[in-house]
Amino acid sequence: MKYTLSILVENQAGVLSKISGMFSRRGFNIDSLAVGVTYDPTVSRITVVTRGDEYVVEQIEKQLNKCIPVIKVKRLVEGEFISRELILIKVHCAAAKRFEIIKIAELTGAKVVDVANTTITLEYCETAEKIQTLTDLLKPYGIREIVRTGTIAIDKGKAEVTI
């Protein structure tokens, strides 16, 4: 099972290494991790996507809560949150193929951010699944380079992760 955790932490030096150290030390898996400051500048929000069973994710939550700078941990409920990743993808693209690739971008909602003689670069902000679809579509053209952020996630509707 995949789990998405939202973690509010003190915005201090060393907190990220504390958290990531805890994961690696205890053999917990990190599929992706993203961190950024929240509306309150003293608080950062870490989004971790992890895999495991109910026991494992419960252990992760408890160990996170035990870290002193962790203010709050919330396990987001499948289907009740929005998640996004940002990807920049540079594809090999001779002039003849340019139109095809632009068409793919249009269909998927990706943005063309750079075009050169033999390459084209797309920007895409979507769920991990849709990003997978786009990369699959582009694979046959020859993917040169991919840069992507970790997943960030937010509850739908009224629910929120605040102090």
């Binding site: 932490v9 003190e10 060393g14 290494s17 504390k18 150290g21 030390r25 419960e58 252990q59 408890k62 160990q63 809560n65 035990k66 002193i68 700078p69 962790v70 203010i71 102090i163």
Partner: protein
Amino acid sequence: MISGADIMVKCLQAEGIDVVFGYPGATICPFYDSLYDSDIKHILVRQEQNAAHAASGYARAKMKPGVCIATSGPGATNLITGIATAYMDSIPIIAITGQVRSDLLGSDSFQEADITGACEPFTKHSYLVKKTEDLPRVFKEAFHIASTGRPGPVLIDIPMDIQTNEIESFEYPDSVNIRSYKPNTKGHTVQVKRAVEMIKKAKRPIIVSGGGVLSSGAKLKLRKFAEMTQIPVLSTMMGIGVMPSDHPLYLGMLGTHGRQCANEALHSTDLAIVCGARLGDRAIAAPNQMEKRAKIIHIDIDPAEIGKNVKVDIPIVGDMNNVLKSFIEEIDGFKINDEWDEKVKDLKAHFQSKISTFDGYVEPRTLIGKLSSMLKAKAILCADVGQNQIWCANNFRIREGRFFTTGGMGTMGYSIPAAIGAKLGLKKRDVVVVCGDGSFQMSLNELSTIKQNHLNIKIIVMRNYRLGMVRELQDNNYNGRHAATILNEEPDIVALSKAYGIDSVEVSSNEDAEKYISRIVDNDEPFVLVCRVHPDTPSIL
């Protein structure tokens, strides 16, 4: 104006610290210079690791954080084993380390070590102080974090310039507010009610108590609850001392090196009430079998321990004092049935261990049993690690005293420095060390500290010329191939002790050992009693 170093001393005074343990060096010199003028007693240990162990012994004796100090780089890294030991044993200590000047940090300067980074897995929390102004808050928080919730070590790393910088004035905060740290001490009312109902329905309940009962100061409540209900009590190694050893309801230590009757009782129970114990692998070797056999109520201040090693039916997060108080109020005269009572008595009688002896040697288990009655009721026994520890755990008859050992980390060399800390914490108590010849040699340098500070600590060395516990493991699992466990050509420990100015004799019979013990218990001098123990003496039975 006041310097950071002076502030550090004032913070310790504000926390009521009268003794600290440490070892100086360049980057902590400003602090030492301030300490020199203060009324805080500094005990110079002979290796930093022992400063941390001594702080641990002090903390356990005084029931409040102990303080250890080291310089940057090698001084700080020497502390690590001691800090890690306190972490695994859940003992509150404050480790203060000097650090290179802030402007040199990160440049691999002389004696620079990233000690907060290195200690990350072994500290409850740590600080690298950036501003002199932060010192009072950092100290206040450190003491608070170390001593509340599940106790543990907190490290404060202080660059030299932070110690020398001066600020306007000193004011110690009178309260702490850490929004991300609010341990839950109350114990959920509904869960407590459910637990009480489950206890009332149980046919063969048992209490498993751990170090948490001692560190929360709830041992009398636990005893009261057990006596009211007649529920028998087992303890983990860290929990030894929750009940007097001869209490009719006490069955002894459980686990791989525990008492058979304790393990048998655990096998027969239908409800284990686990109090302040984490049920590590030495205590419960096969957790899933236990889950199948019995229901489990687990009470702990650390939510992360509940359900980690063993699946639990009713988790209760809270301070043992509060939870036991509710149990006592709500148990309504419940008592265990006669059948279980009989069975427990049977187990206790049936598994009386018969001890075989070797002529010309001290029988350590008998001696330790005897030692208990020769000491004052409140004596503190510090046991090291190895067979000597198991002999003590199973045979020292605790009355109102304490038993200090490292059950969580199992760090050889713990007992002597821990005894130093305990003695400085509680000067009137008898403090006795039992260690092995291997473990003795890991901290024998502290004889020098004992001598210099005139500490009345009696040390009993169980000399079997072996790393006995590992040797036993090799006998059982490695075809008796004694790889690196033989300590032949060992130094003459009597002469060695005398060289440190501490009187010592070697004995090879229980009779002689007892004679010397009765001669030394009431005098004020330290003493090293070396007991020749046959190498084949087993850990248990």
